[in-house]
């Protein structure tokens, strides 16, 4: 019930949402009537004052908590202090509160109001600190409930004030009340019950989900990485959208507004992975982690799909996995087969004839290789595959030195670049040269060993290195 029209002051005051029938209602009524009529707070009886102060006490805390927001709460504070003289200014405040039509306090809100009432004034700047709702004593709740509608009304104002502050202010501390208010609904019923909307939630699906996720993670108190990340996220969002968040969450949780498609926005990169729970998904830390894992797996499957030929037509993880397995097996079989073939070919390997097998531009590079008079002792024989051409042929693998094909120059930059590998190479070719020479190049045999002895040390060194 909303007291929209302040027909009569005391009546309005009484019409405020006093859900619970309270015996002191009549006392208050009489007290207020006396106040208005006589303008003499002193007329209040002590009992009435005590009962009144009870309410005022509970509401006074709220007043202090919202002291920075509006002046009337401060006057409430005065009223608490005075207990007598403050009642007069309190009434206009109540009147002003009555004019706030947007209120629709209800039972759930009473509870929430009661919870708010438990917060001290110092908590308001500390609204940013996470409320430990568990610390709210239940007996306080009951006491506040007994306070009834007045508390509710005042808390309506408080809520309004908060949302006003949230909407109005731009500093980051604003976001904290949001999270606080977001958390307010946590310990109680998940339904916020905040039906009023200060600012239209303009399709801020992401924030609502953010808070939803935040709520979910808070509820479960999970310390998982993702939920921590999202909590942090929720705390440092833009302040302005947050104004609508607190109200927007109500809709989201109530399902009153269908938010449409969820939007997964890119997370700011922080220390850990941020996950956002999609709408309709569980916000459990386990399910979040599982979702991350599933996404990783699907990512890798896509990668594999590109690698394995013929996987594009296939859809589905199971069949793709079969394809991958088949492909790996076929590749391994191919390796075996090719090695068998190479084994037959290998004895006929004629590295002397290798240049003929290579493209012509390589032959020039290989020429010094076959030239025994070439000073090979500099750093092993050249593998002057100095490739100005770089092709896909893996035999051009050593074509790393860009210098032109110059037997003298190619070697050194090549070796300088790859000192270790080229020593291997030098030994490699040298070994083959020796081998080949012994096998084929009889006529040159006497020339090669002359220079070969200089390498024997290098060869053995390389030989050890070549132990696979």
């Amino acid at each position: 019930m909303n007291c929209g029209e302040p027909s009569e002051l005391p009546h309005c005051f009484l019409n405020l949402n006093w859900d619970q029938s309270i015996d002191q209602n009549s006392q208050l009524d009489s007290a207020l009537t006396s106040i208005v009529s006589s303008n003499a707070p002193n007329l209040l009886s002590q009992s009435e004052i005590s009962s009144q102060s009870h309410y005022v006490g509970t509401s006074g805390t709220i007043g202090t908590s919202n002291g920075s927001l509006t002046s009337p709460p401060s006057e409430l504070n005065l009223s608490m202090g005075g207990g007598r003289s403050g009642l007069m200014p309190m009434l206009p405040n109540l009147v002003s509160m009555n004019h706030l039509d947007q209120f629709q306090p209800d039972h759930g809100f009473t509870e929430r109001a009661a919870r708010l009432s438990c917060f001290d004034g110092r908590n308001y700047p500390g609204f940013g600190t996470q409320f430990d709702l568990a610390s709210i004593k239940d007996k306080r709740l009951e006491a506040a409930l007994l306070g009834g509608g007045q508390v509710t009304q005042l808390l309506d104002k408080a809520q309004l004030g908060i949302s006003n502050a949230v909407n109005g202010r731009e500093d980051s501390s604003v976001s904290d009340p949001v999270s606080g208010s977001g958390q307010i609904g946590l310990a109680g019923p998940s339904d916020n019950g905040v039906r009023k909307r200060k600012a239209p939630a303009k399709g801020k699906g992401k924030e609502t989900q953010k808070i939803t996720e935040d709520k979910g993670s808070d509820t479960k108190r999970c310390k998982s990485v993702e939920s921590n990340g999202t909590q942090e996220e929720a705390i440092k969002p833009k302040p302005e959208p947050n104004g609508s968040v607190s109200t927007g969450t109500a809709e989201n949780s109530n399902g009153a507004k269908s938010k449409g498609k969820d939007t997964k926005l890119p997370e700011p990169p922080k220390d850990y992975i941020h996950v956002r729970a999609r709408r309709g998904e569980a916000t459990d830390s386990h399910s979040l982690a599982e979702r991350v894992r599933r996404e990783k797996i699907s990512q890798r499957m896509k990668l594999l799909q590109d690698l394995v030929p013929g996987c594009n037509k296939v859809v589905g993880k199971a069949v793709m996995l079969d394809e991958i397995i088949n492909y790996v097996q076929s590749l391994q079989r191919q390796v075996e087969f090719l090695s068998m073939k190479l084994a037959t070919v290998n004895p006929q390997l004629d590295f002397n004839n290798l240049p003929s097998l290579l493209p012509k531009d390589m032959q020039q590079a290989c020429a010094p290789l076959l030239n025994p008079s070439f000073p090979l002792d500099t750093s092993g024989s050249a593998l002057p595959f100095s490739g100005s051409q770089q092709q896909g042929n893996p035999l051009h693998f050593v074509s790393s030195s860009p210098s032109p094909v110059d037997p003298h120059n190619t070697i050194h930059p090549f070796f300088n670049a790859v000192p270790d590998a080229t020593s291997q190479l030098g030994a490699f070719w040298h070994d083959d040269l020796q081998n080949v020479v012994q096998m084929d190049m009889r006529p040159n045999h006497e020339e090669i060993p002359v220079s070969s002895q200089s390498f024997s040390g290098a060869m053995q060194q390389a030989h050890m290195k070549m132990e696979l």
């Binding site: 797996i297 790996v328 090719l338 092709q391 693998f397 790393s400 291997q424 070994d431």
Partner: protein, 153 residues
């Protein structure tokens, strides 16, 4: 021989396969040199080992789990002389034993057996390793094919 020298990347195509080809050719040469007894099967085996070793030593795969596992396996193979029927295989289980997880499909176990080192990995990492392994395998096959063509022509 555990140098992982990355060749200077002036080769735009694939320094990985360069490294791989390099090692493979070396091994081939060594095999050719040391082959007075050309038992075909022995040679085949040697060449196969050489192929896998060169795969494991490629620059891209040097940090991979499968390359280390492959080398380990290779050592076992080499220690195992042909003709010995009984070999003591020491299975080093690095990670907790894998019970078939409900997450992964049924064929994952087969994949684990195929990919070296696959047994100790989670499914997610297994897929990644498989991708890398497939890449290296493909490069190796291409290399051997090219060599064959070059030598037999």
């Amino acid at each position: 021989m555990n140098r992982k020298n990355p060749l200077p990347n002036s080769n735009p195509n694939s320094p990985n396969s360069s490294m791989q080809a390099l090692h493979f050719l070396q091994a081939l040469a060594r095999i050719a040199r040391a082959a007075p007894k050309p038992a075909h099967s022995a040679r085949t085996r040697q060449i196969r080992h050489a192929a896998y070793a060169s795969m494991a030593h490629s620059s891209r795969s040097s940090r991979r789990t499968w390359s280390r596992a492959l080398l380990h396996r290779l050592r076992q193979w080499q220690q195992q002389r042909p003709g010995r029927l009984l070999t003591v295989r020491r299975r080093v289980r690095i990670v907790t034993p894998i019970t078939s997880r409900p997450e992964e499909p049924a064929r994952a176990e087969t994949l684990r057996q195929l990919v070296p080192g696959g047994r100790g990995m989670e499914y997610c990492n297994l897929l990644e390793e498989t991708a890398d392994y497939v890449q290296c395998l493909r490069a190796q096959v291409q290399l051997m094919q090219t060599l064959l063509d070059a030598f037999s022509s």
